[in-house]
């Protein structure tokens, strides 16, 4: 860069260059963080979540998730984050959460796909003329209030925690796979290494620390909302209040705790 080009900047009113601006921003960030921190604010609290201390499971909580189908862009970050966070085997046929793409043509049957659970995104649609609508639906264990998987487990290895999360005790599971058969949502799989049933835990290790599940954390559009149904200020309570809600396969009386807003008739 020549001296001539710098001259006008030095002579004129004092202006901040791009480089200088970024430098200032980076320097100011820790200070801003401290300020926000001292005011009792954090990124999570800005999103409507409250940090809380590590607590043992309690009947006071009732965890649930909600999904706004209109917000889901099918990026598959949730499915990817879940695999990483929970060390789920990379096999595309062992997933704790996945994203389905629904393509509803003007005439004919709906087309649904979920290649590799949506982790790698979705292939281009071959024909775009006759599509009435298309949308993405993230799926996971519904953590049913009346869970058929818990009912059928012969040894009680799969159980419902006091705060309503369905878990599998991998040290106790005999690997009979009856729970996989009993789950109406296809949410369970046989762990290829541990030889026990495995499934979504709502990232129990995270929620017990007051964090949200990994899939919720990474969702760029906040299509997934997580919270405690028993807490008035919980984002999930707000979600349920302001949206018309549907749950999957309600006719089976499983009483799911994953709720969907803007779900099409075809979603099942």
């Amino acid at each position: 860069m020549s001296m001539d080009m710098n001259d006008p900047m030095e002579k004129g009113p004092k202006r901040v260059g791009r480089r200088k601006f970024l430098d200032l921003v980076f320097k100011a960030m820790p200070a801003a963080g401290i300020t926000l921190g001292t005011c009792g604010l954090s990124i999570s609290s800005l999103r409507g979540e409250e940090e809380k201390k590590l607590e043992p499971p309690s009947e006071k909580n009732s965890y649930a998730m909600a999904v706004d189908i209109h917000k889901c862009i099918g990026c598959g970050r949730c499915a990817y984050a879940c695999k990483k966070e929970n060390k789920v085997p990379e096999d595309p046929h062992t997933v704790r959460t996945w994203v389905e793409r629904y393509v509803i043509p003007v005439e004919g049957e709906a087309l649904v796909d979920s290649p590799n659970g949506g982790i790698d995104g979705f292939p281009e649609l071959p024909e775009t003329k006759n599509i009435l609508k298309s949308f993405f639906v993230p799926k996971l264990c519904n953590h049913c209030a009346n869970p058929p998987c818990v009912q059928v487990c012969p040894v009680g290895a799969t159980f419902q925690t006091k705060d309503g999360v369905i878990l599998v005790d991998e040290k106790y599971c005999v690997g009979c796979r009856y729970c996989i058969q009993a789950c109406p949502y296809g949410a369970r799989y046989m762990h290829p290494v541990k030889h026990v049933a495995d499934k979504c835990t709502f990232c129990y290790h995270r929620i017990a620390k007051g964090l949200v599940p990994a899939c919720v954390e990474v969702c760029p559009t906040q299509a997934r909302v997580f919270g405690d149904l028993n807490r008035q200020s919980s984002p999930i309570r707000r979600f349920l209040r302001f949206n018309a809600i549907k749950a999957l396969k309600q006719e089976l009386n499983t009483r799911p705790k994953v709720f969907y807003a803007n779900a099409d008739l075809e979603v099942r």
Binding site: P148, P154, V174, G175, C176, Y178, P184, G186
Partner: protein, 402 residues
């Protein structure tokens, strides 16, 4: 041909299945389990026809039926155990059972049936023979029989009368137990509301009657083969009677299955489209051809003709033998269609998957054949230990040949 079309043809799926549904969870071993327990229940109910309902023509197969039931019962849980992800934890089902689980109750139904019903009944029935054998045999076998007497060596008329009474009482308890044993196997499938192919209140009763059919046919086959192997004549009155009961059981079984089918079709629930596709695309050979035609209607027709047609006895025997084999094919296909068929469609009700039997491996064909041969080997040992034909001469006198 367009590349997408080629892919579609190579793809073993139609439509959409949930990602976790790619692999079938219950394979060939789980097909064997209801098949084997069905043979137990059927064989026992056949034995009870003689004992409780005094169908004296069936006396030649009474003890054989009991021993067959025991042999199949010993083998029945083995494929289940082999299938578990952690077989070493299998006993947890008995030690710390989850009482709401239909599967956990299997241990108790099984233990009840094995210990309270079958072993006790066989023991009371054979006690006098065991005492006699412990006196007449020499060497190691003498002591084996001595142990089997459990110290009860009294052969007085009062003691024998007690044996008879106790045996009868156990059989009376045994009939509902046998119903429970196999009805319960049907319940394991029928109570899964997530699966529309399984979820049916008729499932336990369909399983029960198909069990009676398969068990009776199995005893018929075993009796004929055992008689041929021993160069003894086949008691025609016995096999004719057996054929009659088999015919009744088949009629009830077939009616129930048709009822189930019509009921589903008429109710026409959400799942009807995928289930129709399942039958036409995936189960056509095993359901329509193997279960209904070859294993259902053909033996039904065969047994009608064989029993009531005017044939010499040798011809009749051939009819019965073939019918017995066809019934086994049919009932095995039925178990296959329930267990495998129930997993070949997605619970999204949008697609079908496939299943290929492997030759090797724990879920493979060879192991399964081994599990099918095993009860026959157990039966062979039992027949050597407790020959059912010890009192054959007295039976021949007792029953006039029809």
């Amino acid at each position: 041909m367009e590349p997408t079309l080629v892919l579609a043809l190579l793809e073993p799926f139609n439509g959409y299945i949930y990602p976790n549904e790619y692999f079938l969870q219950w394979e060939l071993l789980i097909v064997l389990y209801p098949y084997l327990t069905g043979l137990v229940a059927g064989a026992f109910i056949l034995a009870s026809l003689e004992r409780v309902f005094h169908v004296k023509a069936l006396l030649p197969v009474y003890r054989l039926a009991l021993l067959s039931a025991l042999a199949f019962l010993i083998a029945a849980p083995l494929p289940l155990m082999a299938h578990l992800g952690h077989p070493e934890r299998a006993l947890e089902m008995l030690v710390t059972p989850h009482t709401a689980s239909a599967m956990a109750m299997f241990g108790f139904v099984y233990a009840w049936y094995l210990l309270v019903v079958l072993l006790l009944e066989i023991w009371f029935d054979y006690r006098a023979d065991i005492v006699n054998l412990s006196n007449s045999k020499t060497g190691l076998m003498k002591y084996v029989y001595k142990i089997l007497t459990l110290g009860a060596t009294d052969l007085s008329p009062e003691a024998l009368q007690f044996d008879e009474k106790a045996g009868r009482l156990i059989t009376i308890i045994g009939i509902p137990s046998a119903f429970m044993l196999h009805g319960y196997v049907g319940f394991i499938f029928g109570s899964i509301k997530a699966n529309p192919w399984w979820s049916s209140v008729l499932m336990p009763i369909v399983f029960l009657f198909s069990a009676i059919v398969s068990g009776m046919a199995a005893v018929l086959l075993i009796y004929m083969v055992a008689s041929w192997a021993r160069w003894k004549p086949i008691d025609m009155a016995c096999v004719n009677k057996l054929a009659e009961f088999l015919l009744y059981a088949m009629l009830v079984d077939f009616t129930l299955e048709i009822l189930d089918f019509i009921h589903r079709l008429y109710e026409s629930e959400e799942s009807i489209h995928i289930l129709s596709q399942l039958i036409s695309d995936r189960l056509f050979i095993s359901l329509i051809i193997s279960q209904v035609l070859i294993g259902g209607l053909l033996p039904l027709f065969g047994i009608l003709v064989g029993r009531y047609g005017k044939f010499p006895d040798e011809m009749r025997k051939m009819f019965y033998f073939l019918v017995g084999i066809l019934i086994q094919v049919g009932i095995f296909s039925m178990r296959w269609n329930v267990v495998i068929g129930g997993q070949m469609f997605s619970k999204s009700l949008r697609g079908l998957t496939t299943y290929k039997v492997h030759l090797m491996g724990i879920e493979g064909l060879l192991v399964s054949i081994g599990f099918l041969i095993l009860p026959l080997a157990v039966l062979f040992v039992l027949l050597r230990l407790l020959p059912p034909w010890l009192n054959e001469k007295s039976e021949e006198k007792a029953i006039p040949v029809a």
